[in-house]
Structure formats: structure tokens, C-alpha cells
């Protein structure tokens, strides 16, 4: 293999692979990126066996071929080079990367050892759809934080994606709180349901992170396809390949309360500041903050046997019998930083039932955040 590629073209692709490659280094080749030069482009592939990414950039290929090299070091070298042409050439079991007066040689690992990944669903009847880019970005940002990432119940280590003909939803929970975003969508001509009304899949947390990274630049919509074990997201020619989490996602509809008749609206900024300040003296383990609600006001309070106690009063519109309810401050703050509306609502039934938080006046999406109160 021998080729010349522009530094910025190469760097732009390589940085997308930095989150993909395996960091634990249990299987050495998973820390490598596979490079294949052919025609007038060079293609890249990396995976940690959970998530994979396929991309490419233009290159002047003098001699085709394929090799694998350490993704992180390769990226660091390319990043450190001036904006110029980079010469890459296979060299007796290694690879030379050179530019200007800089010369380097890196170890490669055999191309044959690199795992093969499916790059499409394989069957012609597999469900597929075009997903609007902005909506997906919104959905991921508002749910991904609620995934635990280390729960023994592996189906909670991902978010459930539900695709219906006229809308789509993404829902995530760690068993204590739940975030659900639903966005309307119009089905396109190339759409296929694969014979299902609802096309469901559990996406690993890492997939969501990499997907939102791919969505940071450009304006292309997403071509989505669900295979038997893998999911495929084509974002402007880059293909994210994700393993699908096998398992039964909890019946999330069941924990979304319907009869929460007490509704309080807050200015988002004021509530955020109050909870942040009061939480400084919350118990370090439970992070509990209490909302003491009465006519016209809420006292947000905390206390910790080792530290002391704190209180901040917020004026609200509320009439009804006084009540108090306790939440993990972090769960409340996670929601408040995920939404962007000026006003948010808190809907309650009683002290022990699930509370619901929503952005007030949000356009284009429906966001429901359910928190289980703490008994203290």
C-alpha cells in the first residue's frame, strides 16, 4: 500500500475513531484501525465488537492494499503534523507515515486478524427508514444520561428505540428515573417496516455517544436499518454499526403516571441554581433534596448529619394541601440541564409515587422525565 492524503481530510476521519477503538486493550487488534486503499480513496474501519465505524476519505493511491495500525498513535501523529500532504506506505511488516521532513515507522498487525463486521442488514426485508437528523440529536441528548452503563441488568445498559410509521421514541432508564422523548416524523418512500408496526431495538450507551458525535457536523439525515443482530446508521456516508442489546426492555409505559394532579411550574434557571446550592449540604450518599410545597412557595431543603443543612425558597403558583417530596438532586439536575425551555413543570400525586418533569412550551418533541421519590 502506498498513498498520499491531505492532513485535514485524514485527521477529520481519524478523530471520529478515537472513541470507537477498544481502550481496555484486551484484544490488541481492536486498538487498531483498518486502512484499505483502492481507486481514489482510502477506507477506514474500527470496532470494539460492540460498535464499529466505517468511513473513507479521498487519497492519491499509488499502490492499493490494506493494513492495520494503532488508531490512537496514528491520530496523534497526524494531528501533530503541519497542514500538508501525508505519505503513507507499507514497509516490511510496518507502515511509514511521513510528511515534510518528518519520518516515522509504526508496527502493524496482520490485516487477516481484523474482525469482519456486517455492513448492511443482509436480508432485503429488514426494517429501514430515514431519520431526521435534528430530531435524533435531540432524542439522544435528552435520554442518554439516564442510562446506568454498569447495571447487571444488561438491558438497562442501553436505550430503547421505537420506530413507528408516524413517530419515533427513545427511552432510557436506570431503574430510578426514566427519560422518554417522542418526535413526530413522516415516513419516506424508501421506508420499510419489515412487517412490524413498531420496530424496536435496544441501543448500547456507547452507540448513542458515537452517533451524537457523528451528528455534530454536516446536515445529512440518517439512513437507519435494523438487521438481525446489528443496527446500521448511515450518516452522510459514514456508517455506524452497532451490536443490538438482546433482552427485554422494561415495560416503561407502566411507570409513567397518568393521575398526577398537582402541577407546579418553575423558572428553570432559578430551580437549577436552588437545587445546586442546596445539594451542597445534602447527604453525600443519597444526595437527597426535599421539596416542601405549600401555598405559593416551595422550600428546597437538605440536611446531612455530618455537614449541616440548607434551604432555599422559591415562589410558585400552588394552592392545595401542603406536601413534601424528596429526590436525588442529581436526577433533578440531569433533567434541568437536558432541557432548554425557560419554564419546566413538576407533576406530583403524593409523597411516594413517581413524579413527572416536563419542559413547558417545548416545540417539535414531547419529553417526559419520571423520577421515583426517595423515602426519607
Amino acid at each position: 500500500m502506498e498513498l498520499v492524503v491531505r492532513k485535514n481530510d485524514l485527521l477529520r476521519e481519524l478523530q471520529l475513531f478515537q472513541g470507537i477503538v477498544e481502550r481496555k486493550n484486551t484484544i490488541p487488534i481492536l486498538a487498531n484501525v483498518l486502512m484499505e486503499a483502492k481507486g481514489d480513496e482510502v477506507r477506514f474501519l474500527a470496532t470494539d465488537l460492540e460498535v464499529g465505524l466505517r468511513s473513507q476519505c479521498a487519497a492519491a493511491v499509488a499502490k492499493g492494499g490494506a493494513l492495520t495500525l494503532p488508531a490512537k498513535k496514528f491520530y496523534e501523529i497526524v494531528k501533530s503534523l503541519p497542514e500538508t500532504d501525508i505519505r503513507i506506505a507499507e514497509d516490511k511488516g510496518g507502515v511509514k507515515v511521513a510528511a515534510d521532513r518528518f519520518d516515522s515507522r509504526m508496527q502493524t498487525l496482520p490485516r487477516e486478524d481484523f474482525p469482519t463486521l456486517p455492513e448492511h442488514a443482509g436480508t432485503s426485508g429488514a426494517p429501514r427508514a430515514t431519520l431526521p437528523r435534528a430530531a435524533v440529536k435531540e432524542m439522544v441528548a435528552k435520554t442518554a444520561f439516564a442510562i446506568t452503563g454498569e447495571d447487571t441488568r444488561y438491558f438497562l445498559n442501553g436505550a430503547l428505540f421505537v420506530l413507528r410509521p408516524d413517530e419515533m421514541s427513545l427511552v432510557a432508564t436506570d431503574g430510578h428515573r426514566l427519560a422518554l422523548v417522542t418526535v413526530a416524523r413522516g415516513g419516506g418512500a424508501a421506508e420499510r417496516g419489515g412487517g412490524e408496526d413498531e420496530v424496536k431495538a435496544i441501543l448500547p450507551k456507547k452507540t448513542l455517544g458515537e452517533l451524537s458525535r457523528l451528528l455534530q457536523e454536516g446536515d445529512a439525515d440518517i439512513q437507519y436499518e435494523r438487521g438481525e443482530n446489528h443496527l446500521f446508521f448511515d450518516v452522510g456516508g459514514r456508517l455506524l454499526i452497532s451490536r443490538m442489546i438482546d433482552g427485554q426492555f422494561p415495560a416503561y409505559e407502566r411507570v409513567i403516571p397518568k393521575g398526577n394532579d398537582k402541577k407546579i411550574e418553575f423558572e428553570r434557571d432559578r430551580l437549577t441554581s436552588a437545587v445546586k446550592r442546596v445539594a451542597l449540604l445534602s447527604n453525600e450518599r443519597s444526595r437527597a433534596v426535599k421539596f416542601q410545597i405549600e401555598n405559593g412557595r416551595v422550600d428546597v431543603t437538605s440536611s446531612s448529619p455530618d455537614l449541616g443543612e440548607a434551604k432555599e425558597t422559591l415562589p410558585i403558583e400552588f394552592t392545595g394541601s401542603p406536601m413534601q417530596i424528596c429526590f436525588n438532586a442529581q436526577y433533578v439536575l440531569d433533567f434541568l440541564s437536558a432541557v432548554s425551555t425557560d419554564v419546566v413543570s413538576l407533576e406530583l400525586k403524593d409523597e411516594v409515587s413517581q413524579a413527572v418533569m416536563k419542559p413547558v412550551g417545548a416545540e417539535g418533541y414531547d419529553y417526559t422525565y419520571v423520577i421515583m421519590p426517595m423515602r426519607v
Binding site: R153, T173, A251, V255, N283, R285, M372, M374
Partner: protein
Amino acid sequence: MDAFYASVEQRDTPSLRGQPVAVGGQPDKRGVVAAASYEARAFGVHSAMSMVKAVRLCPSLVIVPPDFSRYKAASNAVFSIFREVTPLVEPLSLDEAYLDVTENLWGETLGTAVAKRLKARIRAETQLTASAGVAPNKFLAKIASGWKKPDGLTVISPERVEPFLQQLPVDALWGVGPVTAKKLRARGIDRLVDVRSADVETLRDTVGSLADWLRQLANGVDDRPVVPNREVKSSGSENTYPADLTDLDTIRAEIAEMAAHAISWLARKELLARTVTIKVRYSDFTTITRSHSAAPSRDETDLTARAVRLLEKTDAGRRPVRLLGVSVHNFCSAADDDRLPFGERNAE
């Protein structure tokens, strides 16, 4: 630590040095020996013995009422020395702990060297002596620490494990008390190594679920890691009364007070308890416990009422009561409790 409470007393009160000392309650108040000095042990006095018996064995015994604040302070000093060596310190009590010194902050390569330095540091800082056992695993280290006392240091290097095991009686093990030992001996299992050749079924019939664990230990195998900050499983208190209690209202009040004590502990630890247990020992020493489980709580009215109600399942008031106790178990934290009700399938 060697004869810990008694040693602290002898350290702090010079006139007690060289005397047979027992820390505990007075014999006429039905006191029990909490710790005995080595001088007292020579007379056969040991902890958990009734003070009446201790005085009978050793008429010159000096009885000192316990002062836990000083023991706690001495314990804190010793544990901070432990933590200078490694964060992997697993406390067993105020005066005993496992330390994993495989890697240690002192940079010592030999466990023996760590033990020597620890003993010297403890003596210099607290004027108390400690006995140490150095071994490849927890069960051997525990036995080794008790092998030579006071001021002992017993090392079981890997190549000495087998000869050491050969000489252990079966009741050298933690968890094998007199009753189990007797049962094992009746089946010809006298030494720990006899467990190796014992028939599995016989062993299981004799000691039940302990069988597999015993077989591992008999082969010197113990993979349990040293776990710092082991979670507390229960908390409570009990009280032996100077005179038997017969009045039910007094008994109720005592239970309520001990329950309140357990609840304030829960509040400090930010824990909730599912189960409350009471213990009643009648004047004839028969002892019973009664438990009640419900939704996690640390509500004072609720838990106290449950504890007091448990008295109805005892003969307290009809039979004289010598000892009462209240404890709480099955903890969960407030944070563990705020689970969304997904239903049975995902409740776990």
C-alpha cells in the same frame, strides 16, 4: 491487640499493672467479663464468662467497669497505623483486622517485615502490644495471629502451609464451635486434614452447608479478598438487668428505649431497615428472638411500635426477664429504595 480492654486499663492505671484485671460488670449485677488481662487468664478467667465465676476462679481479681470511649480512641490510633500501610484494612472488631499487604505503602516486600514494623509502631504510639499472623490467606492469618500471644508474631510462609495444616485440630477454625467439633470428632474427624479424606455425604450430614467450605480450608484454600468497609448487616443493643424484670410496662419501656437507640443509629447512617428483632432471655436463661419484617423504614413510631408489639409473642411479663435486646436488620439505603415500579419481571 492483646487483651485489648484490659491492656488499655493497665496502661492508663499503673496500679493495675501486674494484677489480674477483668473489664466488665460487677458480679452482684450479673456482670460478664468483656476482657481479661493475661494475669487473670492464668487463673482460667476468659471473656464472656460470668463475673461471678471469674471471681470464684480468681478471688484477687480486680474488676474495672468498661470505658468504651478510651478503647475507641486506642482503636482509632491502631487503625490509623494500619491505614498507613494499606487502604485494604478489613476490621473484625475494635482491636482486630485483616490487612492485605501484598502491595503496601511502606514498600516492604516481605509481609513479615510489615508485621514487625506494625507491632513496633503500635507499641511506640499506644504503649500496647499486638500479636500478628502473616500468611497467604485470611483463614491462616487469623489462626496464626492467635498462635502466640501476647506480643506474638507467627509467620506461615507458603511452603510451611502444609505442615501447619497437619497440626491443626478441627476446632481451630472460625465457625467450628464446640458443638460442631464434637459432631465431627464423633465421626473420626479430629484434625482439620481429616476433612480431606472424609466422605462428602457424611460431612454434609454432619455440618450441612459448611461442608464445602471446610473442605477448602482443609486444603489450605481460602480465596476471600480483604474487604475494606465491610457493610454492616445489623445494629442493636441488649441489656442484662441487675434484677429480673417482671412488670410488663417496664419491659415495654425498655424495649422502646432500645428501639429508639437503633433508630437514631439508622438516621446517622442514612439507612432504612426492613426487619426489627427483639431478644428476650428469661430468668432460667432460655433465650428467644422474635422478628417482624415490613417495608423499609426508620420511622420512630413505626419501628418502636413493631418492636413493642413483638413482646406479645413472648412470655415477658408472665415469666421474669433477665435480658432484653432490640436490633434492626435488612438494611437498604434511601437511595436503593427509590426504584421505579416496573412490576414483577424487572423488580429484582
